[in-house]
């Protein structure tokens, strides 16, 4: 069946789904894969600006679905990678303009020519999420080490399992190692204890992520960035490489329970 459809979801908004999607897309392309990223957040598109492609949009997802544009016409090629494309969301429509079946049809067409089709799911558990979930072969759930985000992740994991797409894999985003050491933040182990799904990535808090979104150059292209390296490691795990999580906690004893496995090197 060719390419693999990977959906990035979270339940809660603002945890870093779009940032994760953009960076995984870039990293996978950097690993030599042919990649399409689809912004499924119709009405609130953002993947285009995170990737720095907002000026090139002519057609969008709804144009494809409603037949105003050929698939290829709506796909925007990335500036740096010849095999990385974006299908932007429509900005003036709502989620009902696209159905889960439409997404299956679209991704089936893309599978023939691409290795990975990443879908950036909107927040929430309604139609937009259903659209993003329906064609998925694998689901990555982005969460922050924080009560409300983990709670919403749990709900999403339940829905993914109910749809037989589960259990999904977890990306813990914006982890602050110093706070975890002080006992003032949930550790990745805590989150794993609570949610019980495999962790595929731990992304440290990194100011460079904001600079990256300011400039529209995803952080994984910045070799100085730990978050960027961590996203790159997630991409390598997605393609099946066995990449170890780096252990950042060097002081044994008091914090033994909070042994922090931090990915990135």
């Amino acid at each position: 069946m060719g390419g693999k459809v990977v959906t990035i979801s979270s339940g809660k908004g603002g945890v870093g789904k779009t940032t994760a999607t953009a960076n995984l897309g870039i990293s996978l392309a950097g690993l030599g894969k042919r990649v399409v990223v689809i912004d499924a957040d119709i009405g609130l598109r953002n993947l285009d600006v995170i990737m720095g492609l907002e000026n090139r949009i002519v057609y969008d997802l709804v144009d494809i679905v409603e037949g105003r544009s050929k698939l290829r016409q709506a796909m925007i090629k990335h500036k740096k990678f010849n095999d990385l494309f974006l299908i932007p969301a429509a900005q003036t429509r709502d989620k009902m303009a696209v159905s889960p079946d439409d997404m299956v049809t679209l991704t089936d067409e893309l599978r023939a020519d691409f290795d990975y089709i990443l879908i950036d799911s909107p927040a929430g558990i309604e139609r937009g999420f259903r659209n993003a979930l329906e064609p998925a072969d694998e689901v990555l759930i982005v969460t922050n080490p924080e009560v409300s985000a983990v709670r919403d992740a749990d709900r999403i994991i339940g829905l993914i399992e109910a749809a037989d797409k589960g259990p999904g894999k977890l990306i813990i985003n914006r982890l602050k190692t110093e706070l975890v050491k002080k006992g003032e933040m949930l550790s990745s182990d805590d989150v794993f204890d609570i949610l019980g799904v495999t962790i595929i990535g731990i992304i440290p808090e990194d100011e460079l992520v904001l600079s990256a979104s300011n400039s529209g150059v995803p952080v994984t292209l910045n070799l100085q960035s730990k978050a960027g390296m961590a996203f790159n490691n997630v991409a390598r795990r997605v393609i099946g490489e066995d990449v170890p999580f780096m252990n950042l906690d060097k002081s044994p004893g008091i914090f033994q329970r909070l042994v922090q496995l931090l990915d990135g090197r």
Partner: protein
């Protein structure tokens, strides 16, 4: 609830991360079975009301709790201490249900309470409860028999 809060406050010195974990566990337990804490308390009261119709229960020591087995299964665990009433001549135990002076009990446990004794027996109940797919709010999943077998 008071128990929960005192527990959380007790742990607060460990740092807010531990508090977050406790609160998450609590909230997810109820999210996953789609039964909010208030309704859960209501259910406990109803369960107890039924048992009290038949047995003399040491109500102060009743514990009915939800335990998480894994993502999709929770377990309702109840420990309900029952006062043995067959031996005559024993004095009253300090249970509200049977406290009423010198052998006069409330309507529910009537005559039996006249002959109660301090020794109590526990009724342990463990009900495995498969959670219906988290998406289907009101689906009632069939009772999972292998649960019970696994316990044995």
């Amino acid at each position: 609830m008071t128990n929960l809060w005192s527990r959380l406050f007790g742990r607060a010195k460990k740092g807010s991360g531990a508090t977050a974990k406790d609160r998450l566990r609590f909230v997810l337990q109820h999210d996953r079975i789609n039964l909010p804490p208030e309704r859960m308390e209501e259910m406990k009261r109803e369960i107890l009301a039924v048992i009290v119709k038949y047995l003399v229960v040491d109500e102060d020591r009743v514990e009915i709790d939800l335990e998480q087995r894994d993502r999709t299964h929770s377990k309702l665990v109840a420990e309900i201490p029952v006062v043995n009433t067959t031996n005559a001549g024993a004095r009253a135990v300090n249970s509200p249900a049977v406290k009423a002076d010198g052998g006069y009990a409330n309507g529910a446990s009537n005559g039996a309470a006249a002959q109660k004794e301090e020794k109590s027996t526990s009724v342990d109940a463990e009900v495995a409860e498969p959670i219906a797919g988290a998406g289907d709010e009101n689906t009632v999943a069939p009772f999972d028999d292998e649960e019970k077998d696994a316990k044995a």
